[in-house]
């Protein structure tokens, strides 16, 4: 099955076409009032210059679910640093998951958002997540833990982002994160 030409690739690539301007998509990724409206529903804070801090905070739904199960949810669930910010087209940053000890121990990964304006008011969003040495995080982000209530990873988040920007409505974050 394996051949000599095979190299180990640990990058995940996600792409979606969204009927929205690059600026609207950029804002949805970088502004806290937008990030709490889709996907995992936490607020994100960016200092959009090289070396600037990135932090994602846990949502009330996450904290509530954690409390019900009898353990605390950290306030900051993801942290990282901005490497490159070229609004509204390109954002490169480091990204480390802090909600789970094992994933936190896998350290910082590299995440790139690319937004390209297309024809007819449709923009192309490509999310590239480089995950060398982060196998546990890779499973979470690929949606492999959705059955355990961990949300559907990047494709789930991006699908929801598209839905929010195109229809103004998102899936209920409690729907994705609370008890089914």
């Amino acid at each position: 099955m394996t051949t000599e030409t095979e190299t180990m690739v640990t990058t995940q690539v996600y792409r979606v076409y969204i009927r929205a301007t690059p600026q609207a998509i950029w804002d949805a990724i970088t502004k806290p009032e937008w990030t709490e409206r889709y996907g995992y529903g936490g607020r994100s804070e960016y200092n959009l210059r090289p070396g600037g801090a990135y932090r994602a905070f846990s949502s009330e739904a996450m904290k509530k679910a954690g409390a019900e199960m009898g353990f605390p949810t950290p306030d900051i669930i993801v942290d990282g640093e901005v490497i490159e910010a070229d609004p509204p087209n390109r954002l490169v940053q480091t990204w480390r998951m802090l909600m789970d000890q094992d994933m936190a121990a896998e350290g910082f990964t590299r995440l790139t958002y690319e937004i390209v304006e297309g024809k007819g008011g449709v923009s192309k969003l490509t999310v590239t997540h480089e995950l060398p040495g982060a196998p546990k995080l890779a499973v979470l982000l690929s949606g492999g833990l959705e059955d355990t209530g961990a949300g559907g990873g990047w494709s789930w988040v991006i699908s929801d982002l598209k839905s929010l920007l195109e229809t103004g409505a998102s899936m209920d974050p409690e729907d994705g994160l609370n008890q089914g």
Partner: protein, 107 residues
Amino acid sequence: MNDDDRVFKALADPTRRFLLDRLFERDGRTLTELEFGLEMTRFGVMKHLRILEQAGLVVTRRQGREKLHFLNPVPIRLIHDRWIDKYTERQVSALAELKHELEEEMA
């Protein structure tokens, strides 16, 4: 043809599903790797990959001299969220539950 039509059409072929399964097993493969195990010319495999790419199910990226193929699950997710979710009960619970389970496993 709309986006969903392209996805369903791309999936309605065993060779293309086989190619997606190969990428699901391990992502970021070259054309040469994907040809392996298929009784088909290179041109035939390229044609199938092009249909998968047009449907958005495969995204390519250059890495050095190589062109790598990645599985993009988002179009399938969109169909899932738009169609299948409507008819099925959501069974997702909490990210917190995952943490709980992982920690129990460790204990």
